[in-house]
């Protein structure tokens, strides 16, 4: 079976609305952290998933790892790579697994990005811009 999600409309007061391939996921906290659902942007251009430092602390992720540098369109940022558990899907099509994630230490607010490492290899992902939907089929 395939999980299919409509693109999320982003209203922009002075510009035309745009739609983005976000999917609902549950981020499962480590011990003493707080689990929550969120809308994660599927980003095929990202080597690895990314979250903010605040989110990492809420989830009580292990940040006792060396600091590194990540680079994006806005330039370089300080970061640390760790892992987090996520749950994708619903009902009989529910998948829980651990993904590597880059925690961005500089203060930048953004929604969770799902990058290629540890996520794209688990699903065949199809972006249908014309129909404004994204589909995920679990690889066997």
């Amino acid at each position: 079976m395939t999980l299919t999600y409509k693109y999320k409309t982003i209203e922009r007061p002075e510009l035309p609305d745009i739609k983005a391939p976000s999917i609902p996921i549950r981020i499962i906290a480590e011990s003493n952290g707080t689990s929550f659902d969120t809308l994660a942007l599927i980003d095929s251009g990202a080597d690895v998933s990314a979250i903010t430092k605040d989110i990492a602390e809420i989830l009580n992720l292990n940040l006792n790892v060396p600091e590194t540098t990540s680079i994006g369109i806005g330039g370089k940022v300080r970061s640390k790579e760790t892992t987090m558990n996520i749950r994708v899907g619903h009902g009989s099509e529910t998948y829980t697994f651990r993904v590597p994630v880059m925690v961005i230490l500089d203060h930048i607010d953004f929604n969770i990005l799902l990058g290629r490492k540890g996520f794209f290899d688990k699903f065949k992902i199809e972006f249908d811009q014309d129909k404004q939907k994204v589909s995920l089929k679990r690889n066997s």
Partner: protein, 65 residues
């Protein structure tokens, strides 16, 4: 995962929350603000045992990641 909150947010116009973090429980926005930790703290207090849906509403600029 609570599909109700996801279904609810997909139908919401969130323009008044542009650039803010929001939390949804029982299909309603229960907290919002600039600080995600505070938003989640408030949501936990209001949502009881329900897992909230927490997300940041994009600020409206073109996103290039």
């Amino acid at each position: 995962m609570a599909n109700d909150n996801y279904t609810a947010i997909m139908g919401m116009n969130l323009s008044e929350y542009s650039g803010k973090w929001i939390a949804i429980c029982n299909k309603e926005i229960v907290s919002s603000g600039d600080n995600v930790k505070q938003v989640i703290r408030e949501a936990k207090a209001k949502c009881s045992k329900e897992v909230p849906l927490v997300t940041r509403v994009p600020s409206g600029e073109t996103m290039i990641f």
